[in-house]
């Protein structure tokens, strides 16, 4: 290919000398691999990210006559903070969440401990699958089935009555005791899985060392197992908190409507009064609470891992 140096300008020379076809094809081939990410990412951005951002925005707008009007104000947040019913619901949610959290930890820890340290390993996988199985069933139906057990005419009352322990039926259903039971039922599996995960990773030799040094089972637990399973405990706690605080089904099906929780207020605003901007403000507060909790847990993890060393 004869080059005529006189006719060349710099760019042409550069292009010819740098094997243009090869270079372009080279760059292009690298990007082909990422094409597969486009559809799913695009979908998520358009139907997830943008709606979330939009929700945040309308929490600062107004709703009049069932229409959302782009007027910037803090009225919704004022309502959230000042309305006594909403405040009551907020603290109720917090109460239920924290007590359920405590309950879940207390119930799950011994189970996880037993699973890791007492059960022979050939049964472990089986037990794990067995506790995961109910986890996958319909949460709504499960909550409802507690009605059969906790109701005035339900299983527990009949059993206790037949055994002569009580005279009048216990009022469990449609109180938040029932709500907690329903939540516990769902969440204990999660907590067990998380605890199991981190407990399983504990180096057995550490435990043997502690026992060699004369620590009894309780002390071994407090000083060795508890700190080292902290990671699993933290992740489990986060999940339990988020779920409890935001759940709508258990409080509605089991707790009744007379003492509403925060999530029910969101539904009220969205479905009954169609006050979308209020609903979104409530949601933003929900997210805020979760974020604060995450921060606290994160700090505690840091302190905990420092203690490990």
């Amino acid at each position: 290919m004869p080059f005529d140096p006189i006719k060349m300008d710099r760019t042409t020379v550069q292009k010819e000398l740098k094997f243009p076809a090869a270079g372009f094809a080279r760059k292009l081939r690298g990007y082909k691999d990422f094409l597969g990410l486009l559809p799913i990412t695009g979908f998520e951005i358009f139907f997830y990210l943008i709606p979330l951002v939009f929700l945040m925005i309308i929490s600062f707008w107004m709703t009049k006559n069932y229409k959302v009007i782009p007027v910037w104000n803090l009225h919704n947040y004022w309502v959230v903070v000042s309305d006594p019913a909403i405040r009551m619901a907020f603290f109720r949610s917090l109460d239920i969440t924290l007590t359920t959290l405590l309950l879940t930890v207390l119930v799950a820890y011994p189970f996880a401990y037993a699973l890791v340290f007492k059960v022979p390993s050939r049964y472990r996988q089986l037990i794990l699958i067995a506790i995961i199985a109910p986890f996958w069933t319909n949460y709504l139906v499960r909550a409802y089935s507690w009605q059969l057990i906790l109701g005035g005419n339900g299983l527990i009352n009949h059993l206790l009555g037949a055994a002569g322990i009580i005279e009048a039926p216990l009022n469990i259903l449609y109180t938040h005791v029932a709500t907690r039971i329903g939540l516990l039922h769902f969440l204990v599996t999660v907590m067990v899985l998380n605890l199991y995960g981190s407990m399983d990773n504990i180096d057995r030799s550490l435990i043997e060392a502690a026992q060699d040094l004369g620590a009894g089972p309780l002390r071994t637990f407090l000083h060795v197992i508890l700190p080292l399973s902290f990671q699993g405990l933290a992740t489990g706690t986060v999940f339990v908190f988020i779920f409890c605080f935001t759940d709508f089904i258990a409080p509605s099906v089991l707790g009744g409507g007379t003492r509403p929780v925060f999530s029910q207020k969101v539904v009220d605003a969205a479905q009954w009064t169609a006050n979308y901007s209020l609903a979104s403000a409530l949601s933003m507060v929900m997210i805020l609470v979760i974020a604060v909790f995450l921060l606290v847990v994160f700090r505690l993890i840091k302190a905990g891992t420092r203690g490990e060393k």
Partner: protein, 359 residues
């Protein structure tokens, strides 16, 4: 050489992975009907170079040409090369017929024809009954033959082999070395192989390209590369050798001489560009152990060293001795049983033709 006469050409090819330079400005021309082997230690870039030829990697710089055609931007499915992978990479979800016939299927050959051709190929490699077997039912050697069939049935211009004998037992390996070589001769196509086994490379190849740290140190036929290495790395990679640091003196007594401060003066036969080599510092001469003998009569003009035998190892066909001389050890080798013991004082020598200057 005219470009069109090469089966494969690499033109200043480099490949970087992030900051790591795997292949560093490699240029090479491969003539048709050649068995070329890239030889080198792990991590020297030989497998990457092979993949660059096959299209599984794209060079960061440079051109790759196959049969004169610039294929640098082309993906593997558009190149006339086929690769036999190191672990054969036989598709686990297909049987032998599915594997070998895969390439033909991609070309749209009809099923009956595929079956015929696959059967013929299997018969050629000695596996006539294997067509419907699953790949996990085959032994290592059988899998290798299936992998070879799978590649060769497409009649590529260049066959690429990544450590073809690595997964085989030592016994089969020697046999396969000969078989591969014969296969290449019979087919008349270029085979490019990659290995770290120096003996394998020497047995099978017409040409060896020795690589180190991404660069080709030397290309040549086995004899040349073994006896006239261009660098210490090549010399020591291809087998045992003795390297003696010398200073070039020039013509003396009718022969060309070099001198080592401890060991004296040695003579060698000049090569074409000994002047270039001589002008560089840190020259050394290389002598292979099998070219050294024990001498009784010492004559002028011979290359002689006196020393004490340090170790004796009987290796079956020959005995290896290590001679302690001054500050260094010299290895030499004599056929047959050992005749000397440690602590013996002997004189060893070699002919001037048998040593080689390395800059």
């Amino acid at each position: 050489m005219d470009l069109r006469e090469c089966d494969v050409e690499l033109d200043h090819v480099s490949k970087k992975f992030g900051n790591i330079v795997a292949v560093d400005d490699v240029s090479l021309k491969v003539r048709p009907d050649t068995f070329l082997t890239f030889l080198g230690p792990s991590g020297c870039g030989k497998t990457t170079t092979l993949r660059l030829i096959g299209g599984l990697e794209t060079p960061t710089e440079g051109k790759v040409l196959i049969k004169g055609r610039d294929v640098t931007g082309l993906p593997p499915y558009k190149r006339e090369t086929n690769l036999v992978f190191q672990d054969f990479a036989l598709f686990p979800h297909m049987n032998v017929l599915g594997n070998i016939g895969f390439g033909l299927r991609m070309r749209g050959v009809d099923r009956g024809e595929i079956r015929k051709r696959v059967q013929k190929a299997l018969e050629m490699v000695g596996l006539p009954e294997a067509m419907y077997r699953k790949t996990n039912q085959l032994s290592g050697g059988q899998r290798q033959r299936v992998a070879l069939c799978r590649a060769l049935i497409l009649e590529p211009a260049v066959l690429l082999l990544d450590e073809p004998l690595g997964a085989l037992d030592a016994k089969i390996r020697k046999q396969m070395q000969v078989e591969l070589k014969n296969l290449q001769r019979k087919l008349g196509r270029t085979f490019i192989s990659v290995t770290h086994d120096q003996e394998e490379a020497m047995t099978m190849s017409d040409e060896i390209a020795i690589m180190n740290q991404g660069r080709i140190e030397q290309v040549g036929d086995p004899h040349t590369v073994y006896n006239k290495p261009v660098s210490r790395f090549v010399a020591s990679f291809l087998g045992e050798c003795n390297l003696i640091e010398v200073e070039v003196l020039g013509p003396q007594l009718g022969k060309f001489a070099v001198r080592n401060s401890h060991l004296g003066t040695f003579f060698f036969h000049p090569e074409k560009d000994w002047e270039n080599k001589a002008s560089q510092k840190n020259t050394c001469i290389m002598v292979r152990p099998e070219h050294i003998t024990v001498t009784e009569n010492i004559q002028d003009g011979m290359n002689v060293i006196n020393g004490t035998i340090k170790t004796v190892s009987f290796k079956g066909s020959a005995t290896e001795y290590v001679l302690a001389v001054d500050s260094m050890d010299v290895k030499f080798q004599i056929q047959g049983k050992s005749q000397y013991k440690p602590e013996d004082k002997v004189s060893i020598s070699w002919r001037p033709e048998d040593c080689h200057l390395i800059p």
